[in-house]
Symmetry: C2
Subunit: 295 residues, 2 copies
C-alpha cells in the first residue's frame, strides 16, 4: 500500500494547516480533520475530508496524523493528552508535528510514541501562508530515517525544500536557527531604515541601492518595502514571532548558549506587544524603534 | 568637451581604488594618480597614468579629482589640507570623495569647495573588490544635481547601480544605512549558525534550508558558507567595518537617534579587535560568539 493511499489525520486547520492539508487531499489522500473551531474545516470537508469531533477520533481513523496548532502546550494536549493522538491511535501510527514548537517536546513525543509502538517526526515549516498555498514550503524534519522516508512523499506534496536535519528535535532546532537569523536581520532592517528616514532619504530609493548587494536580505527587500509604504499588516504576526524567540532563548539557555542579539530582539518585540502591536506583522518592529526615538 | 576626455585625478590606489581608476583609464580618461605607497600605482602607470608626488600635484593637473582613502582624517588631509586638493586646484574643479567617511565631513568639503568656486560630491560604494574589478559597484551619491550629472558618465564606468541620494552627505548617509543593515544581519547570521552548531546540525545543510526563504540574506548565503568551512579570510576587514559602525553611531547620536542593535554589534566587533581578529573578514564575528560561549 503506498503512503498516498493511506488515511491521514489533520489537526489544526488554520491559515497554514488548511492549505497544507488541501494538497494532501487533492493528491489523493483520505483525510480525517479536526479543528477547535470546526467551521475552519469547511473548505476541506467540501473536498471530501471527514470532520472529526476530537483529536482522539482523528487518531482512531488515521495511519499518519499531522498536527499544526498554536503553542507548545497545544501540541502537548493534542498529542500527549488524554483525548489526544497517542492515547487513541493504533500501533504503527506515525505522528508528525508541524507546529513550530520546542525541540525538547519533540523529543518527548518521539519517546512516548516509541513506547507505544508508534513513531513521531517533528517537521516545522517556513514559507508562510503563500508557501503553504503554493506547496513551496521548506520543511525541516527531525526523527528516524525510516519514518522520514515513509512520510517523505506526503511532505513533497506540501513543500519544495524538504530536509531531514537529524534525530527527533532537529527539525525544531533548524526552525529556531531560522528564527534567530530573522531576529538579527529584522533589527538591522528597521534600524537601517529608521536611520535613512531620519537622514531625510527616500526609503524605497535606499532599498533600491542597498537591497541588492552585501546588505541584501529577504527582510529588507520584502518587509522593508512594506515599511516604506507604512504597511504593517501581518505576513507573520509579532505575537507568533515572540513565541518562537521565547522557545529559541529557552533552548539556547538549556545548551548554555548566550545569544545577546536574539535576547535584545526579543525584548523589543516584547515591547511591541506592550504597545499593543502583537497583531501587526514582524515589520511592526519599526514602530517600536520609531516610538522610542520619537521619530 | 565630453567629461570622458577630461583629465581626472585619482588619490588612493588600494584594492578598491586601483580597480575603479583602471576602468576610467581604459575608457579613455587621462589620469593623474597619487598613493602614499607609490608602488601601488604601478598597474595604473603601466596603463598610461601619470604618477604624481602629492595630492597637490594631482589637483593642479585635473578637472575631476577622485579620492578613496582610509579614514575620515585621511580624507580631510588629502582634500582640505595644505598640500591637499582644494588648496591646489583651479576654479571649477570637481572633487569626488568615494571613501566611506562621515556625512558631516562630506558637507564641510562641499561648503569649502563652493567657497573656492569648486564643487564636491560624496560617493561611497558598495560591492567590494569584486564589484570594483568588474565595474558593478553600487555608487551612492550626495551633492547638487548639476555636478552629479556632470560626473555620472564617469560613475557609470565604475558601477552599475548609481543613485543620487540627495544633497551633500546623503551618499555617506546611504552607505551608513547599508552598514547598519549589515551589522544586524551579521549578528543574526553568527548567532543562528552557532545555535545550529551547538544543536549538532550540519551548517551547510542548515543554510540550504534557511538561506532561501524569509530568513535569507547575502550574509548567510555567502559569509555563512565561509563560516561553515571555517574560512575567516577577509572579503571585508573587521577593522574597516568597526570604522564604519563608529561613524554610523556618531552620526546617529548627532541626530538623537538610538540604535541599540548597531551599538551591540559594534561592541562585539570591538571585542573582535581586542581578540586580535581585526584582519579577519566580518564573518570572524562568529569566533567572538564562539569564544564567549566556549563553543
Amino acid at each position: 500500500m503506498s503512503i498516498t493511499s493511506k488515511r491521514i489525520g489533520w489537526i489544526g486547520t488554520g491559515v497554514m494547516g488548511k492549505s497544507m492539508c488541501k494538497h494532501l487531499i487533492t493528491s489523493g489522500c483520505t483525510a480525517f480533520v479536526y479543528n477547535r473551531s470546526a467551521e475552519k474545516t469547511k473548505e476541506l470537508t467540501e473536498l471530501g475530508a471527514t470532520l472529526c469531533s476530537s483529536p482522539a477520533e482523528v487518531a482512531a481513523n488515521s495511519d499518519v496524523v499531522f498536527t499544526i496548532v498554536g503553542f507548545p502546550q497545544d501540541v502537548e494536549e493534542v498529542i500527549l493528552g488524554e483525548n489526544g493522538v497517542i492515547a487513541n491511535a493504533k500501533e504503527g501510527t506515525i505522528i508528525v508535528d508541524m507546529t513550530t514548537s520546542t525541540p525538547s517536546l519533540a523529543k518527548r513525543i518521539a519517546e512516548v510514541a516509541a513506547s507505544k509502538s508508534m513513531a513521531a517526526l517533528d517537521a516545522p515549516v517556513s514559507g508562510g501562508d503563500l508557501g503553504a498555498r503554493e506547496g513551496t514550503l521548506a520543511i525541516m524534519v527531525g526523527g528516524d530515517l525510516v519514518t522520514y522516508e515513509t512520510v517523505l512523499p506526503l511532505f513533497e506534496m506540501m513543500g519544495k525544500n524538504v530536509q531531514r536535519m537529524g534525530e527527533s528535535g532537529a527539525g525544531q532546532h533548524c526552525k529556531m536557527a531560522n528564527q534567530i537569523l530573522i531576529a538579527g536581520t529584522m533589527i538591522g532592517t528597521v534600524e537601517s531604515l529608521l536611520y535613512a528616514a531620519k537622514a531625510g532619504m527616500d526609503l524605497d530609493q535606499v532599498i533600491d541601492v542597498i537591497g541588492s548587494g552585501a546588505a541584501g536580505s529577504w527582510s529588507i527587500n520584502n518587509l522593508g518595502r512594506r515599511i516604506a509604504k507604512k504597511d504593517f499588516d501581518p505576513g507573520f504576526f509579532i505575537k507568533h514571532f515572540v513565541k518562537d524567540m521565547g522557545i529559541a532563548l529557552e533552548e539556547a539557555a538549556k545548551m548554555n548558549l548566550a545569544l545577546p542579539g536574539l535576547a535584545m530582539a526579543n525584548q523589543f518585540y516584547v515591547a511591541a506587544k506592550a504597545q499593543g502591536l502583537e497583531n501587526l506583522g514582524t515589520q511592526g518592529l519599526y514602530k517600536v524603534f520609531a516610538t522610542m526615538n520619537q521619530a
